[in-house]
Symmetry: C2
Subunit: 384 residues, 2 copies
């Protein structure tokens, strides 16, 4: 038996309580029993989005919600400013392109956060830009972007909205939608919300909802006005992913029991422990200036294809982490601390890494990564 440990930044592990809730007999989505479940999930989503706006549930992956953000708030002739510093930034650009929306690309060196001054300069230079698209957390590089600073820039510009992909961020660190002034905020089920993939969530500010009135891009399944109307009545326009809504109620209850501040502090603590461990092992952080609270990206030891580390961890130890994608494939590896992660998931990653690196001939001292992590984790789970 090679016991399996899923320690990836999405899908993330699903708590036993949630798995059991989802294994219950199916409920019909147009019946009162489901409406009660749906409404509890909808209220919980408002709580975790920190918004008074309705948070819509969509049957699909995060990419569907990204597409919905574009086709509902943009119109022909609009220009989009896309912050592109990783695979998901590129996705914003690609979806815009598919719908004929011209993009201005703010290319950011991978591993770095966008400079808000560069966003300001781009907005000042082109008044045809009507939206800024970015990631709260670019999970392909493990970078946290300053989306609150971007929101300040768009708040003073009547014709510009900010759209934040928080798929690998929301519920893991503080992204208070209404307070920060995010106009569109998106997440997915399989990250901090501790569910299997298959459901996405999206909320719009009043400013963004106003834009849906003049948006002229074609849409049907992703039509948010139709969903808003249906969901205000406790059901969805089309058949929802019923089991995920049932699971969502359970996972939101767990997060409420822990408390939002503690959830954020836990992610921060696990992230700090992970960074301390890999640095103690002599590895260099890939994103030292803006490290993500949900996934730590690390340069591989010089000359070593990080794909080999990922494979060794998976095949010999049953530990699944992720490597680099696209431009940094083979160059970095990524250790997750997102969602249903506790102290010993981090220590599993770190001890497995110590063994795998040694297996692959990297000169490290066993136990030094572990010691560095323990020093931070011994404080116990955050309790505020």
């Amino acid at each position: 038996m090679l016991k399996q440990y899923l320690l990836t930044p999405g899908p993330t592990p699903v708590p036993e309580r949630v798995m059991l809730a989802m294994a219950r007999p199916i409920v019909h989505h147009r019946m009162p029993a489901f409406t009660a479940i749906f409404n509890e999930a909808a209220e919980g989503l408002k709580w975790i989005f920190q918004t008074k706006q309705p948070v819509l549930q969509l049957a699909g992956s995060g990419t569907l919600a990204m597409e919905a953000a574009i086709v509902n708030t943009m119109k022909r002739g609009d220009k989009a400013l896309c912050v592109v510093g990783g695979k998901f930034g590129e996705r914003w650009r690609n979806i815009c392109k598919a719908y004929g929306i011209e993009t201005v690309n703010l290319d950011v060196e991978w591993g770095h956060a966008v400079d808000p001054q560069a966003v300001k300069a781009a907005l000042d230079a082109d008044d045809k830009i009507t939206a800024v698209f970015s990631q709260a957390n670019e999970s392909s590089t493990g970078v946290r972007h300053p989306v609150e600073e971007i929101a300040k820039l768009t708040a003073t510009r009547e014709r510009v909205i900010n759209v934040v992909d928080a798929v690998s961020a929301l519920g893991a660190f503080d992204l208070p939608m209404d307070k920060a002034g995010f106009d569109v905020l998106i997440t997915g089920s399989q990250k901090a919300l501790m569910l299997p993939p298959g459901q996405a969530y999206i909320a719009l500010s009043d400013k963004a909802w106003a834009r849906t009135e003049s948006s002229d891009l074609p849409k049907f399944y992703a039509d948010l006005k139709r969903e808003k109307k249906a969901q205000s009545g406790g059901e969805t326009a089309y058949t929802p992913a019923v089991t995920l809504t049932i699971g969502l109620v359970e996972s939101l209850r767990m997060l409420k029991e822990e408390g939002l501040e503690n959830v954020f502090a836990r992610h921060d603590q696990l992230a700090r422990a992970t960074r301390a461990a890999v640095e103690a092992l002599g590895c260099k952080l890939y994103a030292p200036t803006a490290p993500s609270p949900t996934v730590t990206s690390v340069w591989g030891p010089t000359g070593l294809d990080t794909g080999k580390i990922v494979k060794q961890l998976r095949d010999k130890y049953g530990v699944s982490i992720t490597g680099g994608q696209d431009a940094v494939k083979g160059k970095i590896f990524r250790v997750a601390h997102l969602g249903y992660f506790g102290v010993f998931d981090i220590l599993t990653s770190v001890t497995a890494l110590e063994m795998a690196l040694t297996d692959l001939g990297v000169q490290i001292q066993r136990g030094v990564g572990t010691a560095a992590a323990e020093a931070i984790l011994a404080a116990g789970p955050p309790q505020k």
Copy 2:
């Protein structure tokens, strides 16, 4: 304890084996363990679609697959012939409209199947029509449309494809894609495939795939060319509904164990028993000339709002069936026999109906519906 019986035409009951399979720990969708699962599901889908074509798995509801069918095979200036004889026929028209595709509507009286001669006449009258959209089973009315006849009409027309929504049909009665010549065939997870909602499946003929090369409607999440490329490599373009793919492997195994012929014969037997029972109770079939093998629609007793029957069944007996939608709301009720349904699910519906009708003051003789159903069901499950 009011024990609940979900006897609706979607979501349909999920077998215990499938629920347990889906309750297993989550698997990462970019790892070899998932590829093996994904490929088994993909092969099983080809078997149940009766096609050599790849059957693509989409994270979303059946409506997403309907939209995908349109945006991938149509181009600006094309006209669509939509068979509209119920709520889902109207959906074809509405999605076409959302994408600027002009429609010719072949309106069919609700409760009746389309006449293939009317389809032929419409095609002959307008050579700008490049596709016929219809339902194999219009679940809002409980009607089976002659989609094989429509396929014969389009087969001889080089520029016309036929697109079949088989969401509430595929896997319940014989729809052999390659043999019948369906160009696009669609289904969803929550019907005959016995899964929770949240995944849709779509296959295209060579003729339909050729159309994707010239299709110029905007798409991203529903881009089937991108999905075909990704799925030929054992993964999806975007994060899939992992648990549903895992469940699909299990439900397809169950269907294979039963055998496709027996699955179809079981649905036919249950449908005949249901029709015999309601007629014995003095109720009139809503669609006597083209009754659906998956859902039986029935006129309510004169003067009685069928919503009251549905409510009585649900609130007093815990039995969930469905009423009429839109134009026939309050006028019909619908008894399902779709997916994980056996003999005693039908007898539950029939006996509950006998009790509810009596409660509501309808003069019926208790047991006559049951007797009529038993006479058909006593033959035992079909074994070919």
